[in-house]
C-alpha cells in the first residue's frame, strides 16, 4: 500500500498541512504536494476509471503526461473537469472528484465493458455504421452518447478572471530544467532579452531527483545558485507555473501561466496567456519515459520508473512496499536505488537485455538486488491493485518461470524527447537508433520570415541524456540563438559532472517478444483511450497503413494527453504489424497546445461588455432612457422599438408605424454608412462601382444605386448624393460602411491606381435623422430654414444645405418609407441636441420615435428591398426587378460580365414578387413554396422562398416578399408555402408594392 514516508520529500513542507477532500472523503497532505502525491500518501491508489472499459486505474506518471488520474477539481463557479492530479498543486480546502464511473469509483457498472472487449474492438464506432439504420439510432447512438466525453462540463458560470499579456523577447526558453537554466544563463550573459518559463512550480526538472552534480555542487544547490544569478540579470525574466503551449509562424508563441490554481482564494487573474513574439526559441522541454507493453500493464500500481522515484524523492511518498523494476535501460536502476535508499524493498529487477553491465546495475548488484537479465513480465497479477508479477524469458512466448509478489511495478521502456514545440511550426524529426526515439533534426528546423532557423533545442529535448551533454547542448543552442538574434555571445566552459557510464538501451516494443493474442489483448498502449497492442494490430490487419488513419481508427493518442505516453509505442507496434521500419511509419502531427489550456485563458479579457466593441450613435443615451429594446446591427446597437408602459414589442411597432404614416415619425439613422468619394475621376469610379449611371447625376441631386461584386451578386445599396462636380457622398447600409469602403479602396489601389479619387469614411462624423410622415415638412418649416423647403425648392430626390433651426444641416429629400421624408445630417456633436429639438417642436404633430422594425415594415409595405433580407450573396439585381437601376449604356461596371454568365441569365432564376396569404396570416420566416414531385434526394421540390415577412399595421394583414419561379409572370396565382407545423398556407402572388403604388405620398 502506498503511504507517506517518515522523512524525505524535497518539495514538500511537512510543517504546513493541507486538508482536502477526495470524493467527499477527508484527507491530509502537505504544502508542495500534488494531488496525486497526496492521494498516494493517503493510501489512495485507485484514481479513476478508463474511458472505454471502465477499468480501475491508478496514477502512472508524475507530470504533464499523466493519462489516468484525471479529476474534477473545485466546485460551482470554480469547478473544472479533466485536471491531471499529477500537475494539480494541493491547497488547503481542495475538493477533488473522480470521473467516468457510475455509481462509484470502487463499484463501476460500466466495468462490464471490460468483459466484452471482443465487442469493442478498434474502430468499433465506425463499425456500428455498418448496421441497419434503426439499430444505430436506437442501440448504438444512445449508448455512445452516454459514454462519450471525459468528465462533466461545469454547470456554473466561471467566476474567475483571465488575461492576455503581450511580450517581445529575443530568446524564449521553454523548460526550467538544468538545460533551460543553462541556456538562460548563457543567453542572458549576452544582454539579449530572455524569457524562461517552466510549467511546474519548481525549477530544475529531474536533475535533483536523479542525483546530478554539476561542478561539485549537488543539483539543488546549482539550481538555486543559477536562479539567483538569473534574477540578478535585468534582461532576463523567469516564470514558474508557465507552460510553453505552442509555437507558431515567425516566432509567435503562447505561454500559459497558471497564477492562482494553487491558491484559488488569492485575488487577481487565474490564468494569464502570454502572447510572445520571440526572435529565437529554445525548447528545453525534457523527455518523457515510455511504458512497456506487457500483459496487465494498466493495473493500478504499475507506474513509470521515473514517476516512482519522483514520488519517493520529491514528495516523500512510497507508492508501495515492494517494487519490481522492469526495464530495457540503465536509467530505471536509479529508481531501484532511490527505493533502497528510502528503506523500501526491491525484490527484483527484470531487465529485457541479455547483458547488463553499466555502472548503475553494478551498484545494485553490489547491494544484493536480484537482477534478472533477458527476462520480461509474463503478466501482472491483481485487479484494483498489483499483487505480483510472473516472470518469463523476454525472447519467448511468455511461459512463466516464477512469480514475484509485489505491490508496485516500476517500468521503463526508454525515453522520448518532448518534441512537440519543435514540431508545431514545421520542425522535422529523425529516428535515433541508439535511444530508439525520435529527436529534432537540427538541419530541418522551423524557419522564420528570412528562411533561417528560429527554434533550437537543448538538453533531453535535443535527444542528449548525460548531464554533460545536456548542459553542453543548452549552452551551444543559447549561443546560436543570441547570435541569430544579433547579440554577441560569451563562450562557455564545459562543467564538471558526475555522469556514470550507462550501457546502451535495447528497444522493447512487446514483452515478451513472442506474446500471443491473449496477452496482446491485455497490453495497454494508450491508457486514456483504452487502446491495446491488439487494437493497433487489428487496424493494421484491416488495412490501416497510415499512422494518422490508425490514430483516428483506434483513438490511439487522442484526448487530453494526446498520446504523450503512447505515441512511440503505438507506432512501433504499427510498424511491426506492417513489417516496416519505425521511421517509415512516422509520427502523427503534433499540434498546439502542449497540454490543454483553459478556455478562459483563450478568451482573456474578452468577456461580457468587452467581448467586442459596441458602436453607439450620438443619440444612443436617449434611446436607452426611453426604454428602447435594442438589437445589434453590425457592431452598432439600434433601437428595434420603444415599448411604452408594458406594451408588447408588436404593439409598440404597430403604434410607431401608424404614428409615422398618419403624422410624423423620427428615426435615428446615424448608423447609415457615409463615404466621401472625391476627385477628378470620382464620377468615372462610381460608374464602375454602381450598376447604374452616377456620372450623369447633377449636383444638388440624389440617386439610389446598387453595388455588386465582381461575381455579379448584389452586395450593398444606398443613396448617392452629388455634393459638387468632383465630390460625392455615398450612403451605404448600416452594417456595410467599412466593407464598402474597403471594397472601394481595393479597386482604387489595386486595379485603377492611376485614377484620381480619394475616399474617406465619414460615417461617425454625422448624426443623421429621418423626419418622416405627412407632417414632416411642417416640422421643418416650424424649425425654420435659410433655404427653400417647398416642394419645388427641395423636390423629391433633391438635397439642400444650410441652417435649419439654427443647426448646420444637410437635408436629403429621400424616402425609405414611401412617406414625405427628409433625412437630415448634422455634425455628430449636435446630433443629440438636434434630436431633442425635433421632438420638442414636433410634439404638436405627435412626433414618434420609431425603431428598426417599423422601418423594415414600412419599407416592405412599399416593396423596397433590404440587403440581407432580399439578398443573401447569391442574388443579382435582375432577380429583384431592379433592371431599371442597371445601366444599359455603360460598357462596364463591377459585376456586369458576371451577370452575362449563362446561370445568371437563366429565365428559371427565382424572381421577386409580393406574397399575400389568403387567410391574412403572416408567412413564416424562411418558408418555401412547395412544388410537385421530389428531387433526386427524395425531398419535395420547391418553387420559391420568402425573403421578408411582416404583419402590416397599415393594411391590417400579413404581407411578404419572396423569390418565386417565373414569379412576375404569375401575378394573381395561388401557391402553397410550408409552415413550421408541416401544413401549408395558400398564398397569392401579388405586386410587391403593397402601399401607395403610385408614390403619391412621397411626392407632395
Amino acid at each position: 500500500m502506498s503511504t507517506r514516508l517518515s522523512s524525505g520529500g524535497r518539495l514538500v513542507n511537512r510543517s504546513a498541512t493541507c486538508e482536502f477532500t477526495f470524493n467527499g472523503k477527508r484527507f491530509t497532505g502537505f504544502e508542495g504536494d500534488t494531488l496525486a502525491s497526496a492521494l498516494l500518501a493517503n493510501g489512495q491508489t485507485l484514481m479513476g476509471r478508463s474511458f472505454k472499459y471502465h477499468r480501475p486505474r491508478g496514477v502512472v506518471a508524475s507530470g504533464a503526461e499523466e493519462p489516468n488520474a484525471l479529476m474534477g477539481i473545485g466546485k460551482d463557479g470554480k469547478f473544472e473537469p479533466n485536471q491531471r492530479a499529477t500537475t494539480a498543486e494541493l491547497f488547503d480546502g481542495m475538493q477533488a472528484t473522480t470521473q467516468n464511473h457510475w455509481p462509484s469509483l470502487e463499484l463501476d457498472v460500466g466495468a462490464v465493458n471490460s468483459a466484452l472487449p471482443r465487442f469493442l474492438p478498434a474502430g468499433f464506432y465506425y463499425k456500428t455504421f455498418m448496421f441497419p439504420r434503426p439499430f444505430w439510432k436506437h442501440v448504438f447512438e444512445p449508448v455512445i452518447r452516454k459514454s462519450a466525453g471525459l468528465g462533466k462540463a461545469p454547470k456554473d458560470r466561471d467566476v474567475d478572471r483571465y488575461e492576455h499579456f503581450y511580450a517581445f523577447v529575443d530568446v524564449l526558453i521553454v523548460g526550467g530544467g538544468i538545460a533551460g537554466l543553462q541556456a538562460a544563463l548563457t543567453a542572458g550573459a549576452s544582454g539579449a532579452r530572455v524569457l524562461l518559463v517552466e510549467q511546474t512550480a519548481a525549477w530544475g526538472g529531474r536533475a535533483a531527483v536523479d542525483g546530478v552534480e554539476i561542478d561539485g555542487q549537488a543539483a539543488g544547490e546549482w539550481i538555486n545558485n543559477t536562479i539567483q544569478e538569473l534574477k540578478n540579470m535585468s534582461n532576463v525574466r523567469i516564470r514558474t507555473r508557465a507552460m510553453g503551449a505552442g509555437v507558431y509562424d515567425h516566432g509567435y508563441s503562447l505561454v500559459y501561466e497558471r497564477l492562482t490554481d494553487h491558491a484559488p482564494e488569492t485575488g487577481g487573474p487565474r490564468h494569464r496567456l502570454w502572447r510572445v513574439r520571440a526572435t529565437q526559441i529554445i525548447t528545453a522541454t525534457g523527455a518523457i519515459e515510455r511504458p512497456l507493453s506487457f500483459a496487465g500493464n494498466d493495473i493500478p500500481g504499475v507506474m513509470l520508473a521515473s514517476a516512482v522515484r519522483d514520488y519517493v524523492v520529491n514528495w516523500g511518498v512510497s507508492p508501495g512496499d515492494r517494487t519490481v523494476v522492469v526495464t530495457n535501460n540503465d536509467d530505471a536502476y536509479r529508481t531501484a536505488l532511490a527505493l533502497l535508499d528510502a528503506g523500501l524493498s526491491v525484490p527484483a529487477i527484470i531487465d529485457a537485455r541479455a547483458d547488463v553491465t553499466g555502472d548503475l546495475p553494478q551498484a545494485l548488484r553490489a547491494r544484493g538486488v536480484d537482477i534478472r537479465t533477458g527476462t520480461g513480465i509474463a503478466t501482472v497479477k491483481g485487479g484494483k491493485t498489483v499483487a505480483g508479477v510472473s516472470v518469463c524469458a523476454q525472447a519467448g512466448e511468455g511461459a512463466a518461470t516464477d512469480e514475484i509478489a509485489c505491490d508496485v511495478v516500476a517500468m521503463s521502456g526508454g525515453w522520448s524527447p518532448v518534441v512537440h514545440l519543435w514540431s508545431h511550426c514545421g520542425g522535422k524529426l529523425i529516428w535515433d537508433e541508439d535511444h530508439a526515439h525520435f529527436r529534432p533534426d537540427p538541419d530541418r528546423a522551423p524557419v522564420t520570415h528570412d528562411g533561417t532557423a528560429f527554434v533550437r533545442t537543448a538538453g533531453a529535448a535535443h535527444g542528449t541524456m548525460s548531464t554533460l551533454d545536456v548542459l553542453d547542448s543548452a549552452a551551444k543552442s543559447a549561443i546560436a540563438a543570441v547570435e541569430a538574434a544579433g547579440f554577441k555571445a560569451t563562450q562557455h566552459d564545459l562543467p564538471l559532472t558526475n555522469d556514470v557510464v550507462e550501457a546502451p538501451m535495447s528497444p522493447v516494443w512487446m514483452m515478451p517478444q513472442g506474446a500471443g493474442p491473449a496477452k496482446r489483448m491485455k497490453m495497454w498502449l494508450d491508457y486514456q483511450n483504452d487502446v491495446k497492442v491488439s487494437d493497433v494490430m487489428l487496424a493494421a490487419q484491416e488495412g490501416y497503413e497510415s499512422v494518422e488513419h490508425t490514430k483516428r481508427y483506434t483513438t490511439l493518442g487522442m484526448a487530453t494527453d494526446q498520446g504523450k505516453l503512447s505515441n512511440i509505442n503505438g507506432l512501433a507496434t504499427l510498424a511491426i504489424a506492417l513489417n516496416e521500419d519505425i521511421p517509415q511509419v512516422g509520427t502523427t502531427t503534433f499540434r498546439p497546445p502542449y497540454t490543454p489550456i483553459s478556455m478562459g485563458s483563450i478568451a482573456g479579457e474578452a468577456r461580457h461588455d468587452v467581448f467586442q466593441p459596441i458602436r453607439r450613435t450620438p443619440i444612443h443615451e436617449w434611446h436607452e432612457a426611453h426604454g428602447a429594446y435594442m438589437e445589434p446591427v453590425g457592431q452598432w446597437r439600434r433601437p428595434y422599438c420603444y415599448p411604452r408602459n408594458g406594451e408588447s414589442h408588436d404593439d409598440a411597432v404597430a403604434r410607431e408605424v401608424l404614428a409615422t404614416r398618419q403624422s410624423l415619425g423620427l428615426l435615428d439613422a446615424s448608423t447609415l454608412g457615409k463615404i466621401i468619394v472625391k476627385g477628378p475621376d470620382a464620377a468615372k469610379f462610381l460608374d464602375m462601382l454602381y450598376t447604374n449611371m452616377m456620372s450623369s447625376l447633377k449636383p444638388g441631386k440624389c440617386r439610389y444605386g446598387l453595388m455588386c461584386n465582381e461575381n455579379g451578386f448584389l452586395m450593398d445599396d444606398g443613396v448617392v448624393v452629388r455634393l459638387d462636380d468632383e465630390t460625392f457622398l455615398v450612403h451605404t447600409t448600416s452594417g456595410g460602411a467599412e466593407h464598402t469602403h474597403g471594397h472601394m479602396e481595393d479597386w482604387l489601389q489595386c486595379e485603377w491606381w492611376d485614377w484620381k479619387v480619394h475616399t474617406v469614411n465619414v460615417t461617425e462624423q454625422w448624426a443623421q435623422i429621418a423626419v418622416v410622415g405627412p407632417n414632416a415638412r411642417k416640422l421643418l418649416e416650424k424649425l425654420g430654414a435659410d433655404f427653400d423647403l417647398s416642394a419645388e425648392g427641395l423636390p423629391f430626390m433633391g438635397w439642400s444645405e444650410g441652417k435649419l433651426g439654427g443647426f448646420d444641416a444637410r437635408v436629403f429629400r429621400i424616402s425609405f418609407s414611401g412617406e414625405l421624408s427628409y433625412e437630415i445630417a448634422v455634425p455628430a456633436s449636435q446630433g443629440r441636441v438636434f434630436w431633442d429639438a425635433l421632438h420638442a417642436e414636433g410634439a404638436e404633430f405627435n412626433a414618434t420615435a420609431y425603431g428598426t422594425e417599423a422601418l423594415h415594415i414600412m419599407r416592405a409595405e412599399k416593396g423596397f428591398i433590404m440587403i440581407g433580407d432580399e439578398t443573401d450573396g447569391t442574388v443579382i439585381p435582375q432577380d429583384l426587378g431592379l433592371g431599371w437601376a442597371i445601366s444599359k449604356k455603360k460598357e462596364d461596371y463591377l459585376g456586369k460580365r458576371a451577370q452575362e454568365r449563362s446561370h445568371m441569365t437563366d429565365p428559371k432564376r427565382w424572381k421577386l414578387v409580393g406574397l399575400e396569404t389568403l387567410d391574412g396570416s403572416v408567412l413564416p420566416d424562411g418558408s418555401y413554396a412547395v412544388a410537385d414531385g421530389t428531387n433526386a434526394n427524395g425531398q419535395g421540390n420547391t418553387q420559391g422562398r420568402v425573403t421578408s415577412t411582416y404583419h402590416s399595421p397599415t393594411l391590417g394583414k400579413g404581407i411578404a416578399m419572396g423569390l418565386v419561379l417565373n414569379g412576375p409572370d404569375r401575378m394573381g396565382e395561388t401557391i402553397q408555402f410550408n409552415k413550421v407545423d408541416g401544413s401549408t398556407v395558400a398564398t397569392k402572388i401579388v405586386n410587391p408594392v403593397f402601399y401607395d403604388p403610385e408614390g403619391e405620398k412621397q411626392n407632395v
Binding site: 507558431y248 509562424d249 515567425h250 516566432g251 509567435y252 513574439r277 511550426c425 514545421g426 524557419v447 522564420t448 520570415h449 528570412d450 528562411g451 465582381e710 461575381n711 474597403g742 479602396e745 481595393d746 489601389q749 489595386c750 486595379e751 491606381w753 460598357e891 462596364d892 456586369k896 460580365r897 458576371a898 452575362e900 454568365r901
Partner: protein, 106 residues
C-alpha cells in the same frame, strides 16, 4: 502568425494588423471577354506549395494594399512590394531566385 513589412508605412506588422486578399497579379476580364477568360479570372487560382504572390492589406494600420512574395510551405517571406504593379518587379524575382534557385516565374 506571420509578420510582414508594409512597404508603404514601413511597419513590421503582425498578421492581426493585416487582411489577406488572395492571389496577386490577376488580370481583370470584363465585358467582351470569353467565358473561359472570365472563368479563369474569377475562379482559377494557383494555390502552389511554394512560391506564391499574394495581396495583403495593412487593414488595421495605414490601410494600404501591398503584395507579398512568400513560400507557402516554409512561410519564408521573400519580399513585400507595391500593389500598383501588374507583375512582380525584377528585384522581387531576383530575391526569390536567390533563395530558390530552381524556381522560375510561370
Amino acid at each position: 502568425m506571420l509578420i510582414l513589412e508594409c512597404p508603404y508605412c514601413g511597419v513590421t506588422a503582425d498578421e492581426t494588423e493585416l487582411a489577406a486578399g488572395g492571389e496577386a497579379h490577376l488580370k481583370r476580364f470584363g465585358p467582351g471577354s470569353s467565358d473561359e477568360e472570365f472563368e479563369g479570372y474569377l475562379f482559377h487560382r494557383q494555390n502552389p506549395k511554394g512560391v506564391h504572390f499574394e495581396r495583403w492589406r495593412h487593414a488595421n494600420g495605414c490601410g494600404k494594399w501591398f503584395h507579398a512574395a512568400r513560400c507557402t510551405a516554409s512561410l519564408e517571406v521573400f519580399a513585400t512590394y507595391t500593389a500598383q504593379i501588374a507583375e512582380p518587379p525584377a528585384e522581387v524575382i531576383a530575391a526569390i531566385r536567390a533563395k530558390r534557385p530552381d524556381w522560375s516565374p510561370e
